[in-house]
């Protein structure tokens, strides 16, 4: 008689997990709220001072005068960090909003109509998907010129393929259901079916994919700005600050530390929120792996 360590698994998840997940979800949402809140407050009331102002000697360590130290020009790292968080979040959020609109329309139409329409949309999306994301981003930046527009366009084009695929798959499943057939037979027009019947039923997928797209967006902005093609000086963004930090790492490690921690925390929190949303709203296994 052998003893088992392989337990029988029930489909239902235990109450302990639920609680642990909820705790993690709340912690993630709280982290995001703090990051966004600080950036918003800093944009309204510049409590950390002017990010462009020189406040002390170059590359001085964190102290009472400059809480997170100063950068290579003697500017306050805290003030620049707050500005950078704002830039990164606003850029990524706008980009993901664009992605959501494009992907939802393309994906719904493709999933609902099927056939050649779907083929066409999928091939278009596949073309974009075939480029390594950072390569696509750099290519776009080379065409439109480095800057915020380049970062925005890159995030959109990098995140559109996956979201469109997921929305299309979800719409296809909804389009097969009886209430859609009924609506079609009773003469409801295509656009009305899409917006009144399909859209509400794929909102879970949209929320989940939008969340993952946001974390990819922050990553793309970071990578692009790190390589010098994204947000340009004298503005600041998390990617740009990390790039500056990595070039002064030996003399002033604190330059890298604060933006890196904020960036990782933000991406981690968004991913964890996405996981929880997926478990709750989108039971099918659809996971972003970008």
């Amino acid at each position: 008689m052998t003893t088992y360590s392989l337990p029988l698994v029930r489909r239902k998840r235990g109450a302990t997990t639920r609680r642990a997940r909820d705790g993690l979800f709340i912690a993630s949402v709280a982290t995001l709220a703090v990051i966004v809140g600080i950036a918003v407050v800093a944009a309204v009331v510049p409590f950390a001072g002017d990010p462009a102002k020189i406040v002390g000697p170059r590359l001085s360590a964190p102290s009472g005068a400059a809480l997170l130290g100063t950068d290579a020009l003697g500017r306050s790292v805290l003030a620049r960090l707050l500005e950078g968080i704002g830039t990164t979040l606003v850029l990524s959020a706008i980009a993901v909003l664009c992605t959501a609109v494009i992907s939802v329309i393309l994906g719904m139409v493709a999933g609902y109509l099927g056939g050649w329409t779907r083929e066409g949309v999928m091939r278009f999306v596949d073309v974009l998907y075939s480029f390594p994301s950072i390569v696509l981003a750099i290519l776009i930046a080379a065409v439109v010129g480095p800057g915020q527009i380049a970062a925005l366009a890159s995030i959109v084009l990098v995140t559109v393929p996956l979201m469109t695929r997921m929305v299309s798959a979800a719409s296809m499943a909804v389009a097969k259901r009886d209430f859609v057939t009924t609506a079609r037979i009773s003469g409801v027009s295509g656009p009305v079916i899409l917006f009144r019947h399909v859209l509400p039923n794929i909102s879970g997928t949209i929320a989940v994919q939008g969340t993952y797209a946001l974390s990819v967006g922050i990553l793309v902005e970071g990578g692009l700005s790190f390589l010098g093609y994204g947000v340009q000086l004298p503005q600041s963004s998390l990617g740009l600050l990390i790039q500056e930090g990595s070039s002064y790492m030996v003399q002033a490690p604190w330059l890298l530390f604060s933006p890196a921690v904020v960036l990782v925390l933000a991406i981690l929190a968004i991913n964890l929120v996405g996981d929880t949303l997926r478990d709750r709203l989108d039971p099918r296994e659809t996971r972003s792996l970008v």
């Binding site: 091939r123 990595s246 991913n271």
Partner: protein, 323 residues
């Protein structure tokens, strides 16, 4: 069987269409970039006659459609053009850089398979008794959330500061021997594989958990099979397809040039080739290397799909793997 053949043929056709689209997009992007060939070679002070002569010499005065087709034709005859900057054929440079990126991919992939999959199987099997706790989720989430440019910078700093005996950057000449080359690629491969390990552990864990709830596992437990036997024969076979899919995606992603890691560690691979090509507006280099990266991705996903449909015939019928 017939259905499967038809499905495979369709899959090949759509891969070819995708490839066509990719080549058009690359061609268009390069033409749309500010700064023309004439500006780059002759500089801003050239006379219109000189510019026209150069355009004629490179065939740039022909319609774009013709230029596109002649580019495609050249590729098929093995001519990838010549780098403006170094004046060497792009095919030669690409040939020197692909092995470097390929080796980096292999080392990173070995780490991923050796660490990520066992980790995923272990957490997946264990999670039946007590669902993966918050700590596990944070750790695997962290692996996915730490960007390469953060991790890479920190690793370079730590290892160059503390002199831990592992070589940082300073990639030796290509062809310096297998041992030193692998050693130089070890740190960048570790940086690359952190994401891949976390991603593959998550996917494996989910796949294993999805199989564990199947009735045939309960039957195997009831028959008195050992856990190891159950995992090997019943779980892994069924969990194989999502894991294979992920590994293929990771391979394609790594082969496409780990742009950021290659930049941080100064590795003369495909990724840094693309970036320097773009920086110098070396169009032949950009066109060839980006096309190569995208082609690798398309071919790897095509091969994956064909393998998947051979392993699981349900794919060809329903479009997705069973269970």
């Amino acid at each position: 069987m017939l259905q499967q053949l038809r499905w495979s043929a369709g899959r090949v056709v759509s891969a070819l269409i995708t490839l066509l689209g990719v080549s058009i997009l690359i061609f268009a992007a390069v033409r749309l970039m500010p700064g023309s060939y004439e500006d780059i070679i002759l500089g801003p002070l050239a006379s219109p006659e000189e510019r026209a002569a150069l355009a004629a010499a490179y065939g740039l005065d022909r319609p774009l459609v013709l230029q596109y087709f002649s580019w495609i034709g050249q590729i098929f005859s093995g001519d990838l053009g010549t780098s403006f900057v170094t004046q060497t054929p792009v095919a030669v440079e690409l040939g020197a850089r692909i092995p470097v990126t390929a080796l980096l991919t292999v080392v990173a992939l070995v780490i991923t398979v050796a660490v990520g999959i066992p980790l995923g199987v272990w957490t997946g099997v264990r999670s039946g008794a007590k669902q993966g706790g918050a700590i596990g989720r944070v750790v695997s989430g962290l692996g996915i959330s730490v960007p390469e440019f953060v991790l890479g910078s920190v690793v370079v700093f730590v290892f160059s500061r503390l002199a831990l005996g592992i070589q940082v950057g300073g990639f030796s000449q290509v062809g310096a021997g297998f041992g030193p080359t692998v050693q130089a690629l070890l740190l960048p491969a570790i940086v690359l594989s952190v994401f891949c390990v976390a991603a593959s552990a998550r996917t494996t864990r989910d796949a294993v958990m999805n199989v564990l709830v199947e009735p045939h596992i309960a039957a195997a437990v009831a028959r008195g099979e050992t856990p190891w036997h159950i995992v090997r024969h019943h779980v892994m076979r069924n969990a194989g397809i999502p894991i294979l899919t992920l590994l293929a995606t990771i391979t394609a992603y790594l082969l496409g040039g780990a742009v950021i890691v290659e930049t941080i560690f100064n590795i003369p691979g495909l990724g840094s080739f693309m970036v320097t090509g773009l920086d110098r507006r070396d169009f032949a280099v950009v066109q060839a290397s980006v096309l190569f990266a995208a082609t690798v991705f398309i071919v790897v996903s095509l091969v994956l799909d064909l393998i998947t449909s051979a392993l699981d015939p349900r794919v060809a019928v329903t479009g997705k793997a069973g269970s």
